[in-house]
């Protein structure tokens, strides 16, 4: 009888494709994103201190220092509020805006892209013209104008951000739908009398899902960076709400005396986007789709 060591057993049990998939390059981003998501879902529950609690005697403490309220991993701000707790509390709105805006952009892009690719003709020309015009338009400028005119509220930020991402989804989905439109299984489905809706929903979309997912992961990073930019410029999310972009803006005046206030939230945001970028590359490599 052959002897199976634990390593060999594991190697045998986990199938080879999964093994290739598992690596530090995948685990670290996943763990980080999981942590950040937990922060967002718990909404301050996981924070070591009350994010709004002020403490005059413990102002501008550097990272890794202690006050009589406890230990401050990332230091405190000009009012003695714990920075790490604020960053954890800010995760909720940052991720919420990112997810919702990206999802809306994806839904619009996928809907228009499938319509354009499946029906072709005038519908296609119209939708693609629209997406081209939008790509050529300086949307960040329009976003600044929009938010100034209509007021910088969370809702308005969520309304304007999808306009930055939907053309990317529409272009990808249109090209893929066009390719699948002529595939044998789609022809067979049509020949069997499936309605357009059934063909799109159960034959074409499932085949596009991996690629849409890769793009969605990339675009989530873009949306989060755009939100941070708008909030930093003072035309996005407004205090007392907190996002990481806003925390960077809040720390900026204290750059010379307390660098951590502006730098640390940026690191948390940057690591999130970096993790998303690494994940999307990994997905693209394993699903065989170029991002």
């Amino acid at each position: 009888m052959e002897y199976w060591g634990l390593n060999a057993l594991l190697q045998h049990a986990i199938n080879p494709s999964l093994q290739r998939f598992l690596s530090w390059g995948l685990l670290l981003p996943c763990l980080y994103l999981l942590t950040v998501t937990l922060f967002a879902l718990s909404g301050g529950e996981l924070a070591p201190h009350d994010p709004t609690a002020q403490q005059v005697l413990a102002r501008l403490l550097p990272p890794l220092s202690a006050s009589n309220r406890g230990f401050h991993w990332l230091g405190t701000d000009q009012l003695g509020r714990d920075l790490l707790s604020n960053m954890i509390a800010g995760a909720r709105l940052t991720l919420f805006i990112g997810f919702v805006s990206n999802f809306i952009g994806m839904a619009i892009g996928v809907a228009l892209g499938t319509l354009a690719g499946y029906y072709g003709g005038t519908v296609d020309r119209l939708i693609m013209r629209l997406s081209e015009a939008q790509t050529a338009m300086p949307m960040f400028l329009v976003a600044i104008f929009f938010l100034t005119v209509l007021g910088p509220t969370v809702l308005n930020v969520i309304i304007i951000l999808p306009t930055l991402v939907w053309p990317a989804f529409a272009r990808l989905v249109r090209a893929e739908t066009l390719r699948l439109r002529g595939a044998l299984f789609v022809e067979a489905a049509i020949a069997c009398g499936s309605t357009d809706w059934t063909v799109l929903w159960s034959n074409i979309l499932p085949n596009l899902a991996p690629r849409i997912m890769v793009l969605a992961v990339i675009e989530l990073g873009h949306v989060m960076l755009a939100e941070a930019g708008l909030s930093f410029l003072g035309i996005g999310v407004q205090p007392p709400s907190t996002t990481w972009g806003l925390l960077i803006a809040r720390g900026r005046p204290y750059l010379a005396v307390a660098w951590w206030l502006a730098i640390m939230p940026g690191i948390m945001l940057g690591l999130t986007v970096l993790a998303l970028n690494m994940l999307s590359r990994r997905f693209a490599a394993t699903t065989g789709s170029a991002a």
Binding site: P138, L141, V142, I263
Partner: protein
């Protein structure tokens, strides 16, 4: 070119719809303590009680004449205010583009030629990192390192070439990272093509293959990528950097105008910067056609 004009027209339509149909310019321009009657009078004065089609015609007519209205905050023509800020933005973005293009291309060719080498791995990881952080944050980081810690460079202002280093550096790093990514993959792709293999099998030194044959074929990608990065900068990426470094360009002007509810200046800035984006877009397209003879033939 025709497409560019259509897009610019669309921009003005979007601005009009946002400003006049959805928004309320009179409400924004009136003092905070204005009564309803005063706001109504201002609305009549500005012609905002007329039908939207009529309003759009007069709005578009004055734009064509170069009349963007008076700045509410500086009491000068809005267009003058914007045009004064334009040179600073152009200088900043062009210098940043020069370094982004040079650095990104050279590193991209070197890394793409030796995939999985130490240089490739390190520069690839650094560029992905650079593309993952907000550019204004990178600007703040540079300030902390070079101005606060070492006291070597000025953090803000406009005048000496030293004050250009940090803002242009921050922009160049981020946009250079994207140039690097695209040039790297283009070089890598060309390296595996038959003509490169032929050159290699007939004994041509690797250096010659890379800098003569490969480079000629990646040059189009390189130049269009660099052009696209300019579009990105003028489309808003450079503006947060201007705010961080108090650089007196269009970006800073827009944010000041936004915080003062200076509607005409904001509108003029969006349209002028938008025109820049659209012209740059058109030039990239043109460049692509002129350089890549394969497209011309098709």
């Amino acid at each position: 070119m025709r497409d560019g004009i259509i897009v610019l027209f669309l921009v003005t339509v979007v601005i009009f719809v946002l400003g006049h149909v959805i928004g309320d310019p009179a409400g924004l321009m009136a003092p905070v303590d204005a009564s309803d009657q005063e706001i109504a009078r201002l609305r009549r004065q500005l012609g905002l009680d007329r039908p939207f089609t009529e309003q759009f015609a007069s709005y578009f007519g004055s734009l064509l004449r170069g009349d963007f209205g008076q700045s509410l905050w500086q009491d000068r023509p809005a267009l003058t205010v914007v045009l004064e800020a334009l040179p600073a933005t152009v200088v900043l973005t062009l210098v940043a583009l020069l370094f982004a293009g040079l650095g990104g291309s050279v590193l991209g060719v070197l890394a793409g030629a030796r995939p999985e080498s130490l240089l490739d791995r390190v520069s690839n990881f650094l560029s992905i990192t650079a593309l993952s952080v907000p550019n204004f944050w990178l600007g703040l980081l540079l300030i902390v390192i070079f101005a606060v810690q070492f006291g070597a460079l000025p953090t803000s202002g406009f005048g000496s070439w030293q004050s250009l280093i940090l803002p242009a550096g921050a922009l160049a790093i981020i946009h250079g990272a994207r140039v690097f990514q695209l040039v790297r993959s283009a070089t890598f792709e060309e390296m595996t093509k038959p003509y490169a293999m032929v050159a290699r099998s007939k004994g041509l030194p690797e250096r010659l293959i890379l800098w003569k044959h490969i480079l000629r074929n990646t040059a189009v990608t390189m130049l269009t990528t660099i052009g696209w990065e300019y579009v990105r900068m003028m489309g808003g990426a450079a503006f947060a950097i201007e705010v961080v470094f108090a650089w007196p360009g269009i970006g800073q002007l827009m944010i000041h105008a936004a915080s003062r509810q200076d509607f005409p200046v904001l509108q003029a800035a969006v349209i002028i910067a938008g025109a820049f984006v659209i012209v740059a877009n058109g030039m990239v397209d043109l460049l692509y056609r002129v350089l890549d003879t394969r497209i011309r033939a098709a």
